[in-house]
């Protein structure tokens, strides 16, 4: 009997001790991802708390997809768990239209015009700004200067996809585990499709015409996907369907890739000798061009926004203004060095000689972001915006489904024609179900 009493007492103790309130007044809960720039922001946030003693910061770091799901649920159900959310330029216009985000009006000292126009436009909906960019990225080409030199090759100032293919062929040495080209192959709208969409745009391909009819079986798509599949099959690493950004970063950093076309954010990582064994051998070039040569390329801006469900909107805006300001960039430079300052957002950062010196890839990044043109036109007029994604809510599911089909071509389960026919049919069905197309 005494044992039972002990158990009951323990239960009561636990019940009492576990009750806790979710929010305290003056505490901002910030939902973010575990990227290097966010880690630095978290480390330096004590400076913000010192300057604003009445605001305490509470950090919630989540895996990217979990973050999206949690924040979506939180905002849609008006729970108000998060005061600041880290989202991308895919979400911002869609969520703004839903009325989920607070409009931001930074003061003159913030100098909103210093933000690169392509980034600012991507975070604007109906002329109103709904998020402030923390760092932004586009696409560029990384290559191994030593392998190029050994093969007697020179990377042109503005390479084409045909040239990249020839270079990859020449530097591939499968017996030495050096693969001519590494590209994203892991299925997902933000994984392989981020690259494939960018590739497709420069081949003159696009997802929809003005009446939302899918165009995935066009000749341009066929040519783009054929290039992608044959390049990876002949000159790529084995198991390419498992390789996303991180896996390719690891391959390139450990000396297994000759050329890698991916996000500009990799520049800082590949250039860091602590993270890269080829830091002194990396060359940079713009993203290659396809037969069309124009069109949107790639723009992703990790941004800070305030959901309308936040109970502390004013404090939240004060924080995001600080975290995306020129002063914050200076603070990072002073404490951590210029090479790790958030890239791709402010023109003033690129005007600093110390930054240009510390980050030799800076001019490529700036140029890539300036010319990303996510709202620009494709070969034919299109009813949507976005460079490496289609800016509609259905795209997450649709893009991942097409991504799986694209991965099936790499693993040899489907031919390019079959994959595109299957993608066309699944996208048509998705749009019908959502009511966007009849």
């Amino acid at each position: 009997m005494s044992r039972l009493k002990t158990v009951c007492a323990l239960t009561l103790f636990l019940s009492g001790s576990v009750l806790s309130s979710a929010h305290a007044a003056g505490t901002l809960t910030i939902a973010t991802v575990n990227n290097g720039d966010m880690i630095v922001m978290r480390q330096l946030s004590s400076e913000f708390e010192k300057a604003h003693p009445d605001i305490h910061l509470n950090w919630v770091t989540l895996e990217e997809n979990v973050l999206r799901q949690r924040v979506t649920t939180d905002i849609a159900m008006k729970t108000g768990q998060f005061d600041v959310v880290t989202i991308g330029n895919y979400e911002v216009p869609i969520w703004a239209k839903q009325g989920w985000l607070t409009e931001l009006k930074p003061d003159a000292a913030y100098d909103v015009n210093d933000i690169l126009p392509s980034v600012r436009d991507a975070l604007t909906s109906d002329g109103k700004l709904y998020a402030l960019p923390f760092y932004a990225e586009s696409i560029m080409t990384y290559y191994r200067k030593d392998l190029f030199q050994k093969a007697g090759l020179t990377m042109p100032a503005d390479p084409t996809y045909d040239q990249i293919r020839q270079f990859a062929d020449k530097i591939t040495d499968k017996s030495g585990q050096v693969y001519g080209i590494c590209l994203r192959g892991k299925p997902g709208w933000g994984e392989n499709m981020a690259y494939v969409d960018s590739l497709a745009n420069t081949y003159g391909a696009q997802w929809f015409d003005m009446s939302w009819k899918p165009l995935l079986t066009s000749d341009a798509w066929k040519k783009a996907l054929t290039w992608y599949v044959s390049a990876l099959k002949e000159d790529g690493p084995p198991g390419a369907t498992s390789n996303g950004f991180n896996e390719n970063l690891a391959l390139f950093a450990s000396g297994h890739c000759g050329i890698w076309i991916d996000s500009t954010v990799a520049g800082g990582l590949l250039f860091d000798p602590k993270q890269s064994q080829v830091a002194d051998k990396v060359g940079f070039a713009p993203a290659p061009k396809g037969p069309y040569g124009k069109g949107p390329t790639w723009l992703w801006a990790w941004s800070l926004a305030v959901p309308v469900s936040s109970h502390q909107s004013a404090d939240a805006q004060t924080f995001i203004t600080w975290a995306t300001s020129k002063e914050y960039v200076k603070l990072v430079a002073d404490r951590k060095g210029w090479v790790v300052v958030p890239a791709g957002t402010r023109a003033s950062t690129y005007a600093v000689p110390e930054y240009q010196k510390a980050a030799p890839f800076a001019s490529f990044v700036l140029n890539a972001i300036k010319t990303a043109d996510p709202n620009g036109q494709t070969a034919q007029p299109r009813p949507y915006t976005g460079a490496q994604f289609v800016g509609i809510p259905e795209f997450q599911a649709m893009g991942t489904q097409v991504g799986q089909t694209v991965a099936a071509t790499l693993s040899g389960q489907m031919t390019v024609d079959q994959a595109l026919a299957s993608a066309q049919s699944s996208v048509t069905r998705s749009l019908r179900q959502s009511g966007r197309a009849r």
């Binding site: 158990v7 009750l19 806790s20 309130s21 991802v33 575990n34 970063l249 993270q275 064994q277």
Partner: protein
């Protein structure tokens, strides 16, 4: 000849046993090893077995997150959910084992069927319930969900253990004037203690490792170790070293606890196997 065969069979079985044990343990071994590598070594191809061990990943993990806060949440939620589930499951299993009705079997199967539903199927209603009762991001909320999630398994296990207790022993207690409550607490529970202990251990392990509800119902105040591990995954940058260090830290307490109590666990799981 027979002796020789017997001996060679014994060696083969022993080797097979060791082989399976090593095969099962290998992922944990690799995780522990990776936690002591640098980020570049952690993803090197071919994988490195010989390397200069470093504690840098552990240092970074401790610097970035409050490990003890997450551990405290996990312990409170796991122990609370396990105790709560046992308090509900013991009377339920007792009545079903010793006073079965014609619907007992159906009830048991129905209880088990609730485990067949993917958790995401009830995410929205549970999230709304937690929001409306102010239990989001609280240890109480997560503890209740963990308790209810594991209840069917606990009732089933206890029901099986209780069935192994000979009914005449309970009848003898009743003959001596024991009430139902006394019969359950003073006769049945001591007899079935190994079974209850192993059920509690299993429930504890299930609660410790539960990730879906932890990631969806908590954010900072009540986030347990599963959320701690998930926070080290990164979409842009190498993270295997830090993730492995965080995972090692997260599984270490329950691994040690399970190792210490393995005798009890095996005894409980084989309880009643030989009468």
């Amino acid at each position: 000849m027979a002796l020789k065969t017997k001996r060679s069979t014994r060696i083969a079985v022993t080797l097979l046993g060791w082989g399976i044990a090593l095969w099962l343990f290998f992922p944990i071994f690799w995780m522990i090893l990776t936690g002591f590598k640098s980020e570049v070594e952690a993803v090197s191809t071919p994988p490195k077995l010989v390397f200069m061990p470093t504690l840098s990943s552990y240092a970074e993990v401790f610097e970035r997150a409050s490990y003890w806060h997450f551990t405290f949440n996990t312990v409170i939620v796991s122990v609370g959910a396990t105790v709560g589930a046992l308090l509900l499951a013991i009377p339920a299993a007792y009545s079903m084992a010793f006073m079965p009705s014609k619907r007992t079997r159906g009830t048991l199967l129905w209880m088990l069927s609730t485990r067949m539903l993917p958790p995401v199927g009830v995410l929205v209603p549970i999230y709304l319930l937690a929001r409306n009762t102010h239990l989001l991001d609280t240890r109480t909320g997560l503890g209740i969900v963990d308790m209810l999630t594991n209840l069917p398994i606990i009732v089933w296990m206890l029901f099986t253990f209780f069935r192994e207790v000979p009914a005449p022993i309970l009848e003898a207690g009743r003959m001596d004037g024991a009430t139902r409550w006394q019969e359950m607490t003073m006769v049945l529970l001591p007899l079935a203690l190994p079974g209850i202990a192993s059920t509690a251990l299993l429930s504890l392990i299930l609660c410790w490792n539960e990730a879906f509800w932890s990631l969806n119902l908590t954010s900072s105040n009540a986030a347990p170790l599963t959320a701690f591990i998930a926070s080290f995954s990164s979409p842009e940058g190498l993270f295997f070293g830090k993730l492995s260090a965080a995972s090692t830290l997260a599984v270490a307490p329950i691994l040690v606890f399970g190792w210490i109590s393995q005798k009890q666990l095996v005894r409980g799981l084989t309880f009643g196997a030989v009468k």
